[in-house]
Symmetry: C2
Subunit: 206 residues, 2 copies
Amino acid sequence: MSHIPVGIRQTQKRKTRQALLDAALELLEGQSLSSLGLREVTRAVGIAPTAFYRHFRSTADLGVALVEEALGSLHEMIGTTLAATGDSDERIARTVDLIAVHVGTHAAHVRFIARERHGGVQPVRAAIGEQLDRFAEEVAVELAAHPESKGWSEDDMVMLARLYVDHMVMTASAFLDAEPGNEERVASLARRQMRLVSLGRRHWLD
Amino acid sequence: MSHIPVGIRQTQKRKTRQALLDAALELLEGQSLSSLGLREVTRAVGIAPTAFYRHFRSTADLGVALVEEALGSLHEMIGTTLAATGDSDERIARTVDLIAVHVGTHAAHVRFIARERHGGVQPVRAAIGEQLDRFAEEVAVELAAHPESKGWSEDDMVMLARLYVDHMVMTASAFLDAEPGNEERVASLARRQMRLVSLGRRHWLD
DNA sequence: CAGTTGTGTCAACAAGCGTTCACCGAAACT
DNA sequence: AGTTTCGGTGAACGCTTGTTGACACAACTG
């Protein structure tokens, strides 16, 4: 009947691999990737250190895999964010709320991206940079579809998209650092900053 | 005659301490603070590992000292930046140039701040956050002096200041990551983003 | 000049690291 | 059924790590 199993072996491998990723992500809440030890991760999972090599070449390699996982979960968000209806202020409020929710449900992922974006491991930095570029591209395409973008050059479109993306990352990281109870202050700040950018956008061609 | 020396001892200590800071800063170009070893630093300076404790309690402590050094050198810049004359576009261009120059002359400091701002060492993160807050405060005060800020609430003033400060850090880090020859692209992007923010600022009270 | 202070040294420690190799046993293939 | 494939094991390697205590010797203090 159920002929989807793809083999018990591959399933088990995926499970162990995921356990390694999960354990690493948790360990990374208190340190940077460049100080994360291979033995540390395997110990947390409960397997022998040597088994690590069956899944990743090094901790840097594991880091790159984490980038995919973390920013993959963000790609979904972008669609819903920009598809939000209503006037400008409403859309801004909804976007900020979405960021807050995402930080709540994927805190470790967000922390990892913010931390390693400028972190000490080159391949991981490169992977994050690449993903954020693609991210900005998507945003630019969505923005171009809006009627307010009439007359904008493609270069300026990307300029604005980058500003939005960087501001999103900034805001997400601010939510992370906010002590419980101060989230609304962060949200208010982020909303007003986005509103200011929106105003600039409206008068760009004056 | 020259009775300024404050003692040869204190002078020597300062020199060794500075050597430790310099060596650490250089080592940190290729890794994060949380993976920086005490022995690694002393080895680079050429002193015994135990001598480290005469100057710092731990590498985290050294990191905090580096924050003071790195952001101290930035405090000078803020004055000259905002005191820049000319119209808006001219001031923006001058600001971006100043950032580019600063990144050129203090690359390691900028890298350190960008990397450890969200890094894995809590006390250092806190120190950077505190300094950037004070930084934003200063910018807010300067902005309030401008005539364009008539009618702005203090809260909104800080909101704008934070946007500027975060954008400066973002731009500085972008200059760092730019491969040689692409600096002008980064500068152009930064200028247009600042121009857009300025536009928003002008229409904030509409 | 005698006594104190303090930066730096040396040796030693237990513990951790990444990486290697040969090996096991169950799953997958033919 | 016989063979190959492969995720996981366990021991061992050479090296690095943070921290300790006792000691040297130049710089300060009175």
